[in-house]
């Protein structure tokens, strides 16, 4: 149980795909001008990564090593197509505003990276848990960035006005440069948290050494 929690939680902070591993960045900046988009993108991404890791982990012993990359791509592309078609059918507005970024999940390096580094070696349960951690780690960062950008840039959250009447929306944050800026601050924040955690772990190690 502890091991599962470890696998799950590393995606959230210490190995966060966006903020630490710095992969799969494109969609993180592009779709975060509103919280609704961020939730949609996060959900789509989590769906694809969970099923891709699960399927590949189930078949890991049957997949020949030389042909693994094309097989991974086909599996990922199949689930991406499902999400794309489902979204077009049930949530056409969301699909419209996410645009090309849904089909581009297929080349999102987070999925390829996790499948190659983790799912192709571990059992299905671990793979699914890892995927869930990575997917949620991706989603919280997306929602966090989107919340900052939407509140400051439009004075709203999920499309509902929340700022006081006198608030003048700062247009900068909804435009592309604002996305880069907020993202930079998020990386900086996460690095700070990680540095703090490392320092605490080191201190604990030293005190335990002294005690013994």
């Amino acid at each position: 149980m502890l091991k599962l929690w470890k696998i799950f939680s590393k995606g959230l902070v210490t190995e966060n795909p966006l903020l630490i591993l710095m992969i799969g960045l494109c969609s993180a900046v592009a779709v975060t001008s509103g919280v609704a988009n961020a939730i949609g993108m996060g959900a789509a991404m989590t769906f694809v990564i969970v099923f891709a890791e699960l399927v590949i982990s189930l078949f890991r012993k049957l997949i020949p090593n030389d042909a693994r990359i094309p097989i991974f791509i086909i599996v990922i592309a199949a689930f991406t197509t499902m999400v794309d078609l489902a979204m077009k059918a049930y949530w056409p507005d969301l699909s419209e505003s996410l645009g090309v970024f849904i089909p581009l999940i297929v080349v999102n390096c987070i999925i390829m990276g996790r499948v190659e580094a983790f799912a192709s070696k571990e059992n299905p349960l671990h793979a699914a848990v890892d995927a869930l951690g990575m997917g949620l780690g991706y989603t919280w960062v997306l929602i966090g960035i989107a919340a900052v950008r939407e509140i400051l840039g439009a004075g709203a959250f999920l499309g509902i006005k929340i700022m006081p009447k006198g608030f003048q929306p700062i247009l900068f944050f909804t435009l592309p440069p604002g996305g880069f800026m907020v993202f930079a601050l998020f990386i900086s924040m996460n690095l700070g948290i990680k540095r703090g955690m490392d320092a605490r772990a080191k201190a604990r190690l030293e005190t335990s050494k002294e005690a013994s």
Partner: protein, 191 residues
């Protein structure tokens, strides 16, 4: 829409990196120095154009004809992956000089989302083959331009005093943000 305006808007107004946030991974990863970034940019131009020239006819004549449009994502990514491999083999055997300067970037290009995005764009915008190729050259040149700009900034950043909390990657995104502000000046260039 005439070809010049397609090119200019793809190159500057809708710059693939700064305005549409595509290809950020190679943008951050490959902009370490100016020479390398030029090599990477040229390789991207080359592959994007070839990929567009191959996927456009496949979609227009095969997928539409057989009513298999839903396979677009799957077919395009496989075609691009295979194509990059072929280009790599071809260059290695026939143009070793070019391979030596460009070869190491080629495997990275398969996962460059800009290329896949271009092939989807030209379909959804309904461009014909010539317009598609012009668009592909424009987008890929836009990538080269922003990559070289960031690489230049990075060489300056190396010696600059940077606040501790922004050291490393955060400062790169702050620089990118400012570059994007500059590029917003191009908006409205074409009516």
């Amino acid at each position: 829409m005439n070809l010049a305006s397609i090119f200019i808007s793809a190159l500057l107004i809708d710059n693939i990196v700064l305005m549409r946030f595509l290809a950020l991974c190679p943008f951050i990863g490959m902009s370490v120095d100016v020479n390398k970034s030029v090599g990477m940019g040229l390789a991207v131009i080359f592959v994007t154009v070839i990929a567009t020239m191959v996927t456009w006819p496949i979609y227009t004549f095969i997928l539409v004809g057989l009513d298999l449009k839903f396979l677009q994502i799957l077919v395009f990514i496989l075609v691009i992956a295979a194509l990059v491999q072929l280009v790599e083999f071809f260059l290695k055997k026939n143009v070793p000089g070019l391979y030596a300067s460009m070869g190491i970037y080629l495997p990275l290009i398969t996962t460059n989302c800009a290329i896949l995005a271009v092939t989807f764009d030209v379909i959804s915008r309904g461009y014909n083959l010539i317009e598609s190729v012009v668009y592909a050259v424009g987008v890929a040149s836009g990538f080269l331009l922003s990559l070289v700009l960031l690489a230049g900034i990075r060489e300056r950043i190396k010696t600059a005093p940077i606040p501790k909390f922004l050291q490393g990657t955060p400062i790169l995104f702050v620089s990118t943000s400012l570059l994007a502000v500059a590029f917003m000046g191009f908006a409205g260039l074409i009516k």
